[in-house]
Point group: C2
Chain length 217, copies 2
Amino acid sequence: MSHAITREQLIGNLNWRYATKQFDPARKISPQDWAALEESIILTPSSFGLQPIAAVVVNDSAVKEKLVAASYNQRQVADASHLVVFSIKTNVTEADVNAFIKLISEKRGVPAEALEGYRGMMIGSIIKGMDDAARRTWAAKQAYIALGQLMASAAMLNIDVCPIEGFSPAAYDATLNLAHKGLAATVVAAIGYRAQTDGYAKLPKVRLPKEQIIVHL
Amino acid sequence: MSHAITREQLIGNLNWRYATKQFDPARKISPQDWAALEESIILTPSSFGLQPIAAVVVNDSAVKEKLVAASYNQRQVADASHLVVFSIKTNVTEADVNAFIKLISEKRGVPAEALEGYRGMMIGSIIKGMDDAARRTWAAKQAYIALGQLMASAAMLNIDVCPIEGFSPAAYDATLNLAHKGLAATVVAAIGYRAQTDGYAKLPKVRLPKEQIIVHL
């Protein structure tokens, strides 16, 4: 059921969030809140609905410490309650498109034949219309939509996130054995609760002047 | 001021949203709601905080009709209340980094010299560490974070969005004269209210099985 929130809640919560530098390692996200954040990731819109991404959730402390070393020693990777490595599927093929068509057909009770035009569009655009590098960039963009939706969703629940692009994708892939799963690390989110000692929480937010970001034509 | 919403509100609103196929052309977003959505775009986190993007808001009806033609005739482009063309800045240079450092210095009352390390990281990573193509991809990813935050934000206000990747960037750039502004169209969002006749609003949402999207390690 939809239930609009107020503009003040929306903007208040978006202003409250910041790229958390120091997490409180003792504070864990409740299973109920975590389930909601996973649901938010699953509900993220994607190109054609193909969801060419996975959210890899890392729990093992020793593994997280290895990832700290692969992230310019950013402690958030290990200190946050939860760590998500947004990864792209490296091998999206016609079989994925066909499986997706089958899924739509089942969920919506429409014959697959009725979706042939949609299938053709996806094949033409994503499978035949792109080389491997372009397809990876396309998938990475979908991962960034998921990151955006996750950061906004967490802010609505007053849960902190630090988005991290400063890491070695190759080291992450190796440490998490992602290639074996057909995945490649793209962008990282450390999620939890800010430490009371994180001075960055109190700094004024810095944004470019509005007229540089919003251009009315 | 932050004010957490409930998990049920968050997920209810994210479930409520869908890629709107038919907008009600008669229903316009109120100036107050639109101001909140612009603020949400401005507040979107970005790599280093550099905000290498602009949200181009198109109001002219004749221009919008031209863009419909450049978008595989998707009527949402003209029928939605508002149209945002997320664009990247095509020419991010050391001068942008320096201006950003000056802005941080002013907003936070710290001497620019104290930010020299941060400046060096940005120059090394974004200006010297990337060629033009890589920098455009980096900027495009930031545009997709903004799209993700916008879609989630609009859902919280029960405002509809149709994200659009199916368009000709070259035709958009030409129609909107974006190159002249140092911008290039990257991804589009049509924003407004669903038409009551849009059958897609009632279809069950299709998502891959959870274990394909959320991978616990």
